[in-house]
Symmetry: C2
């Protein structure tokens, strides 16, 4: 089980953005330089974040991105959802009554993986961008 770079970068970039997002939009170029993430890759990521209304874009010179809601109202779940970083513990379709290997019933461990998925998702539902920014400035003291 591993977290992909896309998901990790999305959160990293948003924490960076949230810290500098006062009045002026923050450019991807700045984030790219500060966080060491490829600019082209960031553009892919922010395109998705924008479509899911997590950030707003400001075009033109001096443009950049701004948070579209308050940091405390942006949960990790929202971010991961936006960039398609989803937790997947099973192969079988959840809706379907069929099991993993085309079997007619759910397998012996299906319930376990469901629990696991919930366990992980709960973590993502609780953490907000605000928490992360705070965590970070506290550590700095």
């Amino acid at each position: 089980m591993k977290l992909t770079s896309k998901g990790r970068y999305a959160v990293m970039a948003l924490v960076d953005l949230a810290r500098f997002d006062n009045i002026n939009p923050v450019s991807l170029r700045d984030i790219s330089l500060r966080q060491g993430i490829s600019l082209d890759y960031l553009e892919q990521i922010f395109s998705k974040l924008r479509k899911k209304e997590i950030v707003q874009s400001v075009r033109g010179t001096q443009g950049g991105y701004v948070l579209n809601r308050k940091a405390k109202d942006i949960k990790l779940t929202n971010i991961f959802d936006a960039v398609d970083e989803k937790v997947k513990t099973v192969q079988c379709k959840k809706e379907s009554k069929k099991g993993c290997n085309g079997k007619s019933t759910k397998c012996l461990t299906h319930n376990l993986w469901d629990e696991l998925e919930n366990h992980i998702n709960n973590f993502f539902k609780e953490k907000s961008l605000e928490d992360l920014v705070k965590d970070n400035s506290e550590r700095r003291l």
Copy 2:
């Protein structure tokens, strides 16, 4: 983030094994048929489980595998560890003081991913094979 088939199969197979493991060893062929997992793949998996002393093998006709410890003493952690299904939320080396993209310090989100990793691993540390077998027979009532 997703769980690989190898990890899922390992647990599936062991739950199956634990249920039938009374006096006689259980053959991979039986597990393969019951669970719909390729025999060759199961062999790879059990080879690892044996090396980590989670199961014992009995060669020859009527041979198969037997649990090497009590079901309640086999945790998910042990199983995943044996088959190299590890939780990895970061790229950076944990021991090193360096950050993800070759930076000299840990990044803004490093601490978060550490928390996440622990959160997930805690789940694995708690669940034992016995729990899974019980869960399953209860559901059957």
